[in-house]
């Protein structure tokens, strides 16, 4: 009897040990499999990056040695495509925390330049000019550094069997030193070499419209008490005994004081108002509000927004977009000068659709770009533009509008809004030359039902 029992116990122990062992082993296999898959993705991204940079370098040189326009067009298109692929490769490597901004800047500069020159050569009859070739030459010099370092590093990865997953887990997430730091050191060295090059001067074509310097850099500075008073008057309009406190100071694009007020209706959720340090303008405000069922129609909401804007000095605005999600909506307005819509100065209002309360205002574009402008008279008439529109576009409205085009320049255009089947577009024709400056897709994204945790 005793014997039997001890046999059974021994048997069970052995069985348990075997089971645990098997379980551990299969867990290990699964983990190894996942790690191999991650490693192979990193290896592919890295070797492709090296290969694409090599191709870019070769194509840049080819652009310099060839003078035929057709060849230029093709070469620029290739560079543009390879830059896109290289950026995707770099983005899928676990290097998010390693500073590589100069290396990334090289890729984005090359992409921007090739796209710009592609526009020039494909639209006009011209081949690349001397000034263009100078820019390409500068890019080529930089590409040599990247190409050399990347292929050298790629060889080291192959030869020494270096692992990218190890880099990710040990060095980047664990913040420890690896036995072999070749990969990270290689990228850091490359970045250092790129830092030694001066920023490429891309010339006037690429220089974007800058915000009003006076507003960003300022003339006088206000103190937090003044900011609190400005914010209070702006939001509450009359004195209701609310006192705000300074929550934070921002030193980013626009230096601001962040003022926080407890809301009179909902004590738990404060209203945040951001006031420019330099001239005391309200840049934006926002409030977290739990909205109930929507009771207000979008058109009625628009009236509430207008009322809010008019009480704060925005008299002449046009609604250009409405986006509704559940029981709140975001309305985009643009101010007008005469009958011209000023898109660079757009304002957004978030409205709760249960009681029509404004819960957010975003005016940073208005703040940075608002000014009295000398607008030219459009050379082309509305009818002339109307005749240029593709027959595929079902036109809804044609109106004059100032926009910032792809190159970051303000241009006076005729805006033609319409639709093609399900797609909605705004096409902007240069009011002087009739050139299509910009086509904006306005089709809302498809929406789905999602679960939330609270």
């Amino acid at each position: 009897m005793k014997r039997w029992r001890s046999w059974i116990t021994t048997g069970l122990i052995v069985l348990a040990v075997v089971a645990v062992g098997y379980w551990g082993y299969s867990e290990h296999r699964v983990k190894q499999g996942l790690q191999n898959r991650a490693e192979s993705q990193y290896q592919r991204a890295f070797h492709e990056l090296s290969w694409h940079v090599d191709t870019i370098s070769g194509q840049l040189a080819q652009l310099l040695i060839s003078g035929a326009r057709e060849r230029d067009v093709l070469g620029l298109a290739t560079v543009s495509r390879q830059v896109f692929a290289a950026q995707a490769n770099l983005g899928s490597l676990p290097l998010a925390l390693v500073p590589l901004s100069k290396t990334e800047k090289f890729l984005s500069d090359t992409g921007e330049v090739s796209f710009a020159f592609l526009n020039k050569t494909a639209q006009g009859d011209v081949a690349l000019e001397e000034a263009d070739e100078e820019i390409i030459e500068q890019l080529y010099q930089r590409s040599l550094v990247l190409k050399g370092d990347l292929s050298e590093l790629a060889a080291a990865v192959l030869n020494k069997k270096l692992s990218w997953t190890e880099v990710e887990v040990v060095a980047l997430r664990g913040n420890k030193d690896l036995e072999d730091n070749t990969i990270i050191n290689g990228f850091q060295l490359m970045e250092k070499k790129m830092e030694e090059y001066q920023e490429i001067n891309l010339g006037d074509d690429f220089s974007k419209t800058k915000p009003d310097r006076k507003k960003v850099e300022g003339e006088k500075e206000i103190d937090p008490q003044e900011a609190e008073e400005i914010a209070r008057k702006w939001w509450f309009l009359e004195d209701v005994g609310q006192r705000g406190k300074l929550t934070y100071e921002g030193t980013g694009d626009i230096p601001t004081y962040g003022i926080e007020f407890l809301s009179s209706t909902n004590e738990a959720n404060p209203i945040y108002i951001d006031v420019s340090k330099l001239d005391g303008s309200v840049v934006w405000c926002m409030r977290d509000k739990s909205t109930g069922e929507a009771k207000i129609a979008l058109a009625e909401g628009e009236e509430k927004c207008r009322e809010f804007l008019e009480k704060r000095g925005f008299q002449d605005t046009v609604l250009v977009e409405t986006e509704r999600e559940d029981s709140s909506a975001i309305y985009t307005f643009v101010p007008c000068q005469g009958d011209v819509l000023l898109y660079p100065e757009q304002l957004k209002i978030e409205l709760a659709l249960d009681d029509g309360e404004v819960v957010g205002y975003e005016g940073s574009f208005y703040y940075m770009y608002h000014q009295e402008r000398e607008l030219p008279e459009p050379v082309l008439s509305k009818e002339e533009v109307r005749a240029m529109v593709s027959p595929h576009l079902e036109v809804e409205v044609v109106r004059p509008a100032l926009i910032v085009n792809y190159w970051g320049k303000e241009v006076l255009t005729w805006e033609v809004r319409g639709s093609y089947q399900e797609e909605k577009f705004a096409v902007f024709y240069n009011a002087e030359t009739g050139k299509e400056e910009e086509v904006a897709r306005l089709t809302p994204s498809p929406k789905f039902l999602f679960d939330l945790i609270d």
Partner: protein
Amino acid sequence: MKRKYIARILVVMVAFLLVGAFLSEGLNPYKTVANGKNGGTVSSNDVYVLAKIISAEARGESYLGQVAVGAVVVNRVKNANFPNTVYGVVFEPGAFEAVSDGQYYSNASSTALKAARVAINGWDPTGGALFYWNPSKPVSRWIWSRQIITQIGRHVFAL
């Protein structure tokens, strides 16, 4: 006496096994989807992805702090040195701890969703920040070289 001891060990081992098996299933982040019960929302996919990363990265932060985290993602999308879509930025390897450790794969909170909506529409409490971190936690030694522009809640924000 001895046998009782062994039997106990056995029971404990089996229990360990069961717990282990349960945990390895239960911890699989992709399977914890059935936790959203209290109402849903209608949203586009990119806004919901943004809401999920805000929810996982800025849990316990104020609404302002949550919009700020969302704004960093949106600023990266607009910046030429980062991927061009919300998806590219969120899933960039190693960019967000919540994606690396799987917390991202829970559902979003309703506050995070509201924060995501305004962040994607341009509300930016950080004034253009591209990085943020919690200074009281151990973070990558590389990140401290960035220029800090503001602090909101527990996070510092940098260019």
